[in-house]
C-alpha cells in the first residue's frame, strides 16, 4: 500500500501542476498518515474508545437532530441503527418527544460498554489486566435472553428497569473480556508485519 501510494501520489500531483510541492506533500503525507504508528496499545485503545463514544453520541443525536429540524440527518441515523435494533417506541427512551436511535436494552449495552471501556483504560494504566472469563459474557447474555423469553411468554413483564439492568450488565462486562483479546490480536498482527530491513550500508529499506 505504501509503495503504491509513494508511486502514484507524486504522479497525481505532477499532473495537476504542483510539481514543486510534490515532494514536500508526499513526504508530509507519508509521515503523517502512513508512518504514524499506533505507538502503543494506548493510542489504539483511545481510538476504539473514541469510536464507542461516537457510536453512543449517534444514538442520542438522532432525536436531538429531529427536534432541531434536521429530519434527513435524523432519518439517516435511525435507518443506520435500525439495522441492529427493532427501535420500538414503547421500548425506547425519549428525548424531547422523539425516541433514541435504539431501544432501552441496546442503549444500555452501548452506553455501559463505552463507560466500562473508559474504566478499563484507567485500570489498565496501573497494571496489566488479563481478560475476564468469557463465561461471564455468556451468563450476562443468558440473563438478557431469559428476560426477553419470559416476557414473550407472558410469564414476567419486562420493564425499562430490567431491560436497563440486563443490557447494562452485558455491555459493562464485554470490554473486560474482549478488549484485552483485541489488543493482544493487534499486537500479534504488528509483530507479524514485515519490518523495514536494514541494508549493509545502514540505509533503511521498506519491505
Amino acid at each position: 500500500m505504501r509503495r503504491v501510494l509513494r508511486k502514484f501520489v507524486p504522479i497525481y500531483l505532477k499532473r495537476h501542476g504542483k510539481a514543486r510541492r510534490c515532494r514536500l506533500i508526499q513526504n508530509a503525507f507519508v509521515a503523517i498518515i502512513l508512518e504514524t504508528p499506533m505507538t502503543s496499545s494506548r493510542s489504539l485503545l483511545a481510538l476504539v474508545a473514541l469510536l464507542a463514544v461516537l457510536w453512543c453520541a449517534g444514538i442520542v443525536a438522532a432525536p436531538l437532530l429531529k427536534n432541531a429540524g434536521a429530519v434527513a440527518a435524523a432519518d439517516g441515523l435511525y435507518d443506520f441503527y435500525g439495522r441492529i435494533c427493532h427501535q420500538l417506541d414503547s421500548h425506547s427512551w425519549h428525548l424531547g418527544g422523539d425516541k433514541f436511535a435504539v431501544c432501552v436494552r441496546c442503549s444500555s449495552i452501548y452506553f455501559s460498554f463505552a463507560v466500562s471501556l473508559l474504566a478499563w483504560m484507567v485500570a489498565a494504566r496501573r497494571e496489566r489486566l488479563l481478560p475476564l472469563r468469557p463465561a461471564l459474557v455468556i451468563a450476562a447474555a443468558g440473563l438478557m435472553v431469559i428476560d426477553v423469553a419470559l416476557h414473550l411468554c407472558g410469564l414476567h413483564a419486562s420493564s425499562t428497569v430490567t431491560r436497563m439492568l440486563t443490557g447494562g450488565l452485558l455491555g459493562g462486562i464485554l470490554p473486560w473480556v474482549v478488549v484485552p483479546l483485541f489488543l493482544e490480536a493487534v499486537g500479534q498482527m504488528r509483530r507479524r508485519r514485515p519490518r523495514p530491513t536494514e541494508r549493509p550500508s545502514g540505509e533503511m529499506q521498506h519491505a
Binding site: R83, S90, V145, C153, V177, V178, E184, Q188
Partner: protein
C-alpha cells in the same frame, strides 16, 4: 511444523450463516436482539476454524480470531444483501404475504399473551413492509450493503473474539510419562 489452516473456508461458512440469518425476512428479526445472528456467525466461523487445527500446527491466536471475524462479517454482509435481494426478486409479493402472514400469527399470539403491546405490533408490521419496499430499489439495496459492510464485520469480530475466549486457548498437552526400562 505445519502451517495454519486457511481461513477462507471457515469464514465463508460463518459468513453464509450470517447472510442466511440476516437476509431471510422474518429470520432477520434475530438481529434485533443486539445483532445476535451476526455475533453467532462470528462464533461459528471461529469454531469451525479451530476444528481444522491439528497438534502439528501452531496454536490458534487471537489475531486469527480477529481476522476470521472480520472476514466472516464481510462475507455475511454481501451474502445477506444477495440473499435478501434474490428472495425478493424471486418471490416478490408472495414472500411478503407468506412472511407477513406468519409474523402476523406469531405476533397476534404474543399480543394475546400480553407479551407485546398492540402499537408495537403495528410498528413491527410497518418495519417489515419498509424492508420489503427497500429491497426492491437499487438505492435501498446499495444503502443496505454499505451499512452492512460497516456493521457486520464489527459485530462478527466481537463474536469471534468471544469465541476465542471460550475455545481459543488450548491447554498444553499433558507430558507422557516415560516407561521405566
Amino acid at each position: 511444523m505445519l502451517e495454519k489452516p486457511k481461513k477462507f473456508r471457515a469464514a465463508l461458512i460463518g459468513g453464509l450463516a450470517i447472510g442466511a440469518i440476516s437476509g431471510i425476512p422474518g429470520l432477520s428479526l434475530i438481529n434485533c436482539c443486539c445483532c445476535a445472528g451476526i455475533l453467532l456467525g462470528g462464533i461459528l466461523a471461529l469454531y469451525l476454524y479451530r476444528q481444522e487445527f491439528t497438534d502439528e500446527m501452531p496454536p490458534l491466536e487471537s489475531s486469527d480470531a480477529l481476522i476470521i471475524g472480520i472476514m466472516a462479517g464481510i462475507v455475511g454482509a454481501v451474502a445477506a444483501t444477495l440473499i435478501g435481494t434474490f428472495l425478493t426478486l424471486l418471490f416478490g409479493s408472495v414472500e411478503e404475504q407468506l412472511v407477513g402472514g406468519f409474523l402476523d400469527r406469531l405476533l397476534q399470539k404474543l399480543e394475546q399473551r400480553g407479551g407485546i403491546p398492540p402499537e408495537a405490533f403495528d410498528e413491527l408490521r410497518d418495519q417489515l413492509k419498509r424492508s420489503f419496499a427497500e429491497a426492491r430499489t437499487l438505492g435501498g439495496i446499495l444503502r443496505g450493503l454499505v451499512f452492512a459492510l460497516i456493521l457486520y464485520p464489527i459485530f462478527s469480530m466481537l463474536g469471534a473474539l468471544i469465541g476465542f475466549g471460550i475455545w481459543g486457548r488450548k491447554k498444553p498437552a499433558p507430558i507422557q510419562p516415560t516407561q521405566p526400562q
